[in-house]
Subunit: 322 residues, 2 copies
């Protein structure tokens, strides 16, 4: 059996980090960071629990990817540039094959974003993965949830609902072909954090967040924090390529309520529409204009004829569900 120290060294420690902001990485009581002068630090923690956020038999490579991706997505939602992260890992056993694949998936994504693993903890226990991530951004440029203004356009990046459709496939709620299910499952297991888009939207977007619990519920946080309401055109919500072929009813439900999309939802002044499109093109990410911020409170859904659509929408909540 590998010891805790062997484990960290063997699977997670890199020989050296070529980033002058990292003064000290793994191996001491603390890591030491030199934040860039004048920059603000953005910090987020996400804990992923086996059987709740991923299947107990989840592929360790994609699990390593996903654990870091959901944290990077929080940086993207603030407009922050990735800097570093810590990893705390509770494992039932130190399985070398699992660890090799998990660390490979995790470090491939961290390399892609220049986001360095600088410390953490390993312990024995039920499988639980907790990442705390650090990013940088110029003060005053953060895309906060409380910054939406009446008259703003509402936008969403990429496509929605395929992750939820994959889950429906696993649960046999929906019949999908093997290739369709695989395509949708990739969205569920390997979300793409919209880092480049978040950074490109600094100075253009007002409010932003990443969609982890479903568009309707998450947009609700912006509305509440900004003390505004919203109108959404439900049939403009960009369904994923697999969901796109399903019924209108399923498209509406899963684009509105499906979780695990990790797309950005953001608001921007109507006068900045061209700037939003330019930022999206720079970030090689599609964006779709899906509605408007209005005075008042709550979310109103409209069809293309401007008629109100009545759909249940509800944010995923770990403690409110059975």
């Amino acid at each position: 059996m590998l010891s805790e120290f062997d484990l960290i060294k063997r699977y997670f420690a890199r020989h050296s980090i070529l980033d002058s902001r990292i003064a000290l990485g793994i191996g001491d009581d603390c890591a030491l960071l030199n934040p860039s002068p004048g920059m603000q630090l953005a910090i987020s923690s996400d804990m992923l629990v086996s059987g709740r956020h991923f299947f107990p038999d989840a592929d360790p490579y994609t699990l390593g990817h996903k654990c870091l991706a959901v944290n990077l997505s929080d940086l993207a939602a603030m407009g922050a540039a990735p800097l570093a992260f810590t990893l705390a890992l509770s494992l039932p056993e130190a399985n070398p094959d699992w660890l090799a694949e998990f660390s490979r998936g995790l470090l491939a994504l961290s390399d892609e974003h220049g986001c360095h693993l600088i410390g953490g903890d390993t312990t024995k226990g039920p499988l639980n993965i907790c990442i705390t991530i650090f990013g940088e951004l110029p003060p005053g440029t953060a895309l906060r949830r409380d910054a939406a203004k009446v008259g703003d356009d509402i936008w969403v990046s990429g496509t929605l609902g395929d992750a939820r459709l994959a889950l429906a496939g696993y649960w046999n709620e929906v019949r999908l072909s093997t290739s369709e299910h695989q395509l949708a499952a990739t969205r569920m297991h390997q979300p793409i954090p919209r880092i480049a888009l978040g950074m490109a939207l600094r100075g253009i977007a007002h409010a932003a967040l990443d969609i982890s619990d479903g568009l309707a519920g998450d947009l609700g946080h912006i509305l509440e924090k900004s003390s505004v309401g919203a109108t959404l055109f439900v049939d403009r919500l960009p369904a994923g390529p697999v969901l796109h072929k399903q019924s209108q009813d399923l498209r509406r439900q899963f684009t509105l309520n499906g979780g695990d999309d990790y797309e950005l939802c953001f608001t921007a002044p109507a006068s900045r529409r061209q700037d939003v499109q330019t930022a999206a093109a720079q970030a090689s990410t599609t964006v779709t204009h899906i509605g408007h911020i209005v005075a008042g409170a709550g979310l109103r859904l409209l069809d293309e004829q401007g008629q109100t659509v009545f759909l249940q929408y509800k944010s995923f909540d770990h403690f409110a569900h059975p």
Copy 2:
């Protein structure tokens, strides 16, 4: 049942944080920190798992204290001043009584050290508590594990072994009176992070760490990282007030190998003995000179006659034990 958002707001969110370094606290995708200009950031993560780091029926108030204390202790071991922390919490259920007491213990200690809760995550799952902590210190002043020099004195703060003795009491390895057991158990459940001492030792001490897995094993990390050896006088190790009354053999074993002490072990030049004592007095913390850093490798134990003592010593390791 409380929702995740209610939960955070009700038990953990403070109305406002009066610290200009905290630009944004709980409630957005990320917290925002403005590190003090020119300061380095010290970062550490610790994960505590039910049944491994604490008893499943642990008192929630002292558990809240301990979870933050072990993280503060990592800052102390670097000489950093506490700034903020994030809390990720996996809970089997949202029990209001448990949460009220847990948050009370946690926030009492965070208030004491001006260390602000700025974000985190809650989820349903086996009880698991992961804290990531942030401190500040001037660049170049961190007390690193790789900085011990041949000729350095070795020091330890406070007393050792009472936490291990309390465990021995729970396990009926040792018979203790109720009042003795309570006194020792306080050391186990409510460790005191040596923040003031760590900060006072900047510029005086060379290497430092906090003792979580036992003095001998933890000192071994300093020896390995600094490529040096050490001589320890086993009968100078300061036994806690309860352990003090036990046999020499138990005193030696538990001061040397007992975990959960969260005292600082540090090295400093022999020429700075008076400065170490002055720093300790400033920090209202006792310190004891227990040995010397020597050339070579490994740890040699001596009695007061200078004779070698042969004792097994071994660091606690979550994966190496059954």
